[in-house]
C-alpha cells in the first residue's frame, strides 16, 4: 500500500508541475462551464441536471487526453524499464497512476463547485443529490481513466492510445444511451440479448442512476468491478511485457 502512495505522490507531483495539465484543466473547465452555465436563467430550474448531463460527454473527450501518456510515454522514453526494476508490484504501480489521475480529475471537478454555490444562492438547490452526483462523476471518471490507462499500456504511441481510448469510451458511453439501443434493436442486425448485455456493461447507465440522487450498492459494485477489471488487465499487460522483455 505504501508503494502505491509513493507512486501516487510522484504522479501527482508530475501533474501539478506540468503546464500541460493546467492547460488541460482550464480547457476542460472552460468548455464544461460554458455549456453548463446556460442553465443559469431567471425562473429556470435550480438544479445541476444540465451540468451532470454534459459531464459524461466532456469526460469522453478529455479523459483520453489525460491517460494517453500514462504508460505510452514511459514506454517511448524507456523509463518503463526503470519503473519495472523498482521493488514495487505492478498492480501498485497501476493503482498509483490510476489514483493520481482520478485525484487530478477530482481536483478539476472541485473547481466547478462555484456553479452549485451560485445556484444555491439564488434558488433552493437540493444539495445531497448534487454531492451524490459528484461522487458518481468521480466513479465514472475513474472507470474511463481505467479504460484509457489500459489502452495506453498496450502501445508506445500516444496517438494510438488516444484514438483507441476515444473510440472505446465513446462506444461505452453510447451503449448506455437509450436511443442508440433502440436503433440497434430496431435494425435487427444485432441480437437482442447482445444489445442487453452491452447495455449492462456501459458505465453511463450506472452514472445516470447515481447522478439522480440514489446511491445503489449495485452501482458502486459495478464501478468497482469495472475499474478493477481494466486495472487488472493493465497490470497483466505490463507483467506480460516484463516477462517477455
Amino acid at each position: 500500500m505504501l508503494d502505491t502512495v509513493v507512486i501516487l505522490r510522484r504522479e501527482l507531483k508530475s501533474y501539478f508541475l506540468s503546464p500541460i495539465a493546467y492547460v488541460f484543466g482550464m480547457l476542460m473547465l472552460g468548455v464544461l462551464l460554458f455549456f453548463a452555465s446556460t442553465s443559469l436563467q431567471n425562473n429556470g430550474p435550480a438544479s445541476m441536471q444540465q451540468f451532470f448531463a454534459l459531464l459524461p460527454l466532456i469526460l469522453v473527450i478529455f479523459v483520453p487526453g489525460l491517460t494517453m501518456r500514462l504508460w505510452a510515454e514511459e514506454q517511448k522514453l524507456g523509463t518503463i524499464q526503470l519503473l519495472m526494476t523498482f521493488p514495487v508490484r505492478t498492480i501498485h504501480l497501476v493503482l498509483g497512476k490510476f489514483l493520481a489521475a482520478v485525484i487530478f480529475l477530482a481536483f478539476v471537478l472541485l473547481l466547478t463547485i462555484g456553479l452549485p454555490l451560485t445556484i444555491g444562492a439564488y434558488g433552493k438547490l437540493d444539495w445531497p443529490p448534487v454531492l451524490g452526483a459528484y461522487l458518481a462523476t468521480v466513479m465514472f471518471a475513474g472507470s474511463f481513466v481505467a479504460v484509457g490507462m489500459f489502452w495506453s499500456s498496450t502501445t508506445s504511441d500516444q496517438i494510438i492510445a488516444l484514438l483507441l481510448s476515444l473510440v472505446s469510451l465513446a462506444l461505452l458511453y453510447a451503449l448506455g444511451y437509450p436511443v442508440l439501443i433502440d436503433l440497434m434493436t430496431g435494425s435487427g442486425w444485432v441480437p437482442a440479448w447482445f444489445v442487453d448485455l452491452v447495455n449492462g456493461i456501459s458505465p453511463f447507465k450506472y452514472f445516470v442512476s447515481i447522478s439522480r440522487g440514489v446511491i445503489d450498492s449495485r452501482d458502486i459494485i459495478y464501478f468497482t468491478c469495472f475499474c478493477g477489471f481494466f486495472l487488472y488487465a493493465n497490470a497483466l499487460v505490463l507483467n506480460n511485457r516484463r516477462h517477455t522483455g
Binding site: K124, R212, G213
Partner: protein
Amino acid sequence: MTHVKNGRPLGLRTMAGGVLAVVCHMFLLALVLGQVVYLASRNRTRWDLTSEKIWSLTESTQTLVDKLDKQLLVEAYFSPGEDLPVTMRQTRSVLDNFLDELVQLGNGRVVVQRFDPNSDKAISDRCTRLGVKPVDVRGSSATSISVDRHWQGLRIKYGGSKQKVLGQVAPSSSPQAELLITPAIKEVVTTEKYKFGFMEWPIQEAGQPQGIGWSKLRTVEDIARRFEFQNLKSEDAPLIPEEIETLFLFRPKELSDRQKYVIDQFVVRGGTLVVFADASEYRIGQQRAFSNVPVALDAATAETKFLDQLNSYGVDWQPKLLADMAPEAHRPRDILRQPFEYFAIQTATVFGNQARHVPYPYFFHAVATDWSKAADRFARNAEGEVDEAVAKRFRETHGSGIPSDAFMFTTFKNVGRGPGFYWPTWVGLRRKAGGVLDLPAGITGTVHLQTSPGVLVEDPPRMLNPVGFGDPRAQTQELRKFVAKLNERSQAEPRQQAPLMCEVRGKFASFFAGSERPKRPSEIAEAEARAAAAARAGDDTSDTGQGEGQENEEPVVGPPSPVTDAGGNEIPAAAPEAELVAQGERDGRIIMIGDSDFIRDDLVGGNYARLGGPYSTMGGAFFNNLLQWLAKDSDLVALQSRQLTTRTLQLVDDPAPGTDPRVVEEAVNAKTAALRGVNIVLPCLLLGAFGLMVFMIRRGQKKTFLESLS
C-alpha cells in the same frame, strides 16, 4: 521492436502465448466480475439522497404491505424488455424497479409473477379477458412493415378473492409508479367501503335544473372506490341511520326545526357532523362581478336558530365575511403557472396577453407559519413604529395558521399553506368576553386552521367587485382604490386571528332537551289526517243523534282501525321513531369549516380559470384528506402528501408593481451575463493562478539551488 530474453530474441510463439494468457485471464476475470455484479443487483441496498425522497417508496406503501395478512400476488403481463421501443423501455425499467422494491418490502408477503403474452396464445387470451391492453407499434424497414405488440399490464390479487387490473401501466418515474400502483393495492386489500351521509343545498342557477353542488369531488374515481356517500336529505327527515358515523352538511340553509333535531340527535348519539359553512352566497356573474344572494340559515317556519344550536355545543359561528390582508395569505401557490387560483386579470405583456394575479383578500388560505414571529409587523402604529407592548402581547397570543397536528394537514404543512378559501366565514370555539374559552362541560375544542393577524371581519357586502367593468386601465385604477380602501380599514381593525376550521368533541347535551321533539312531516300529516278523520267522525255521530259527551260503550279490541281521509283512502301510519336522547353517552364530534365554495363543483372544476379565476386548486386534496382523516385511514396520506418543492432560480427580486417590463428584462439579462461570466472565467483563472504560483515557486527553488552551486 525486438523482444529479448536472456540475451536471446523471443520467438513469435512465446509472445503469442503471453498475449493469449492475458486474454484468457481477462476473459475469466470478466466472467467472475459479471457474476459479482449480477449477484449485487439481486441483493441491493440503496440510499435516496434527495431531500423529499423522491426515488423511494413512501411510508404509505410500507404501511400497506406491513398490514397484509394474506399473500399479495402481482401478475405482471410484460412482453420482453429488449423488444420494447425506447419510450416504453424507460417505463419498464421504472416498473421493474418498483416491483423489485415492493417484493423486498413484502418480505415474502408480496409475490410477483411475470408472464410474456407474446410467447403464449393462452396468456395473451387471458390478458384480453382480464382487460390488459396491448400497445401496437408499427415498425418498418426497407423491405417490410410490421406491427409489434407490446404488453405492460398488471393484475393485483389479494387472498385469492379480490383483484384489480391495471390494463396499461407506463410510469415515467418512480413516484408516478407508486401513485398508480399503491392505491390499487389499497383497493384490493380494503374489505369494505366507509359510509358517509350528506345533505347539500345546491345553488340554483338560471338554466341549471340541478344547481351547482358538491358532487364532483364525491364522484372522483379515487374517492368513490374507497368511500360511499348516502344522501340523507329527505323531505320526511328521519333520524340518521346508525351505520352512518359521519354526516356532511354542504352549505346548510333554510333548516327546519325537524332537520335541526335530526342533526342534534345525530351528534348527541355519537355521530361526527362536518359542516361546510358560508355566511353568504356569492354568485360569480358577468365579468366576474361577485354579488351576494341573501341566505336564511333557518326556515321561515322554524322556531329555533341553528346558530344557537351550534353555540350550545360550543361552536361559535359568526356569519361574517373574512378578508386576510397579509400578502402571503392571498398569494396563489404557483403565481407563474396558476395565477388564477384566486383572482387574475388579463394584462398586456411583451409575450402577449397574460393572466396576472391581483390581490383580492377575500380569497386566501391559512399560512403554516408561526405568526408570533411576525408580531412586530402587526404591532406597527399609524406612524409605522413598532409598539413594543403590543408586539409582546402578539408574540404570546398569535400562533401558526395551521396549528393542528392531525395527519390530514400533513400535505398542507408540507406546502406551507392550507387550501384556498373563497369568501370564508368565522367558525371558532365559544368564548366568553376577554377571549376565554367557554365550552360546555365535558366538551373539548380545537382550532385547526386560522387566518393571519391581519384579518378584516365584516358583514357580507351586497356586492364585491374589485375591478369594475371598465377597460384594463380603468380596472387597474379601480383595483387600486379597492385595495387602498381595504388597507385603510385594516389599519382601524383590531389585530386578531380568525378561526377558519374548528372541532369540538365530547358527550353533547341535546339542544332540544326539555322540549317536545319536532315531528316529521309524515307524522304531522298523519296527525292532521287523524284530527280531520276524528272531526269527520264527530260530524257523523252528531248526524245520527249521538251527542257530545256520550261515551262509546263498546271497548276497542285489536289494532286501531286505519285512519282514512275524506275520500276514504287509508293514510299510512308514520314509522315509529326512537325517543329523544337528552344527554349523549358516546363522544360526538362537530367539525366546522368556514367555507363551502372551495370544494364546490364549479370552483374545483376550474370553470372560471380561463376568465382569471377563482379556481380551487387544493380543494380536492383537502376533501380527500378530510375523508381519510374521518375514516381514520391514514394509509395513503404519506403518498398523497408527497409534495415536491418548487426549485426555481430567482436571479432578481420581484419587480415592484407597475415597473416597466423592459427595465426588468435588462436587469435579468445583466445579472445572468454577470453570473455566467463569473462561473466560467473564475475557475479557469483560479487554476491558471495556481499553476503560475507553482511555476514561480519552482523557479525560485531552481534559482536558489543554482545560486547555492555557484
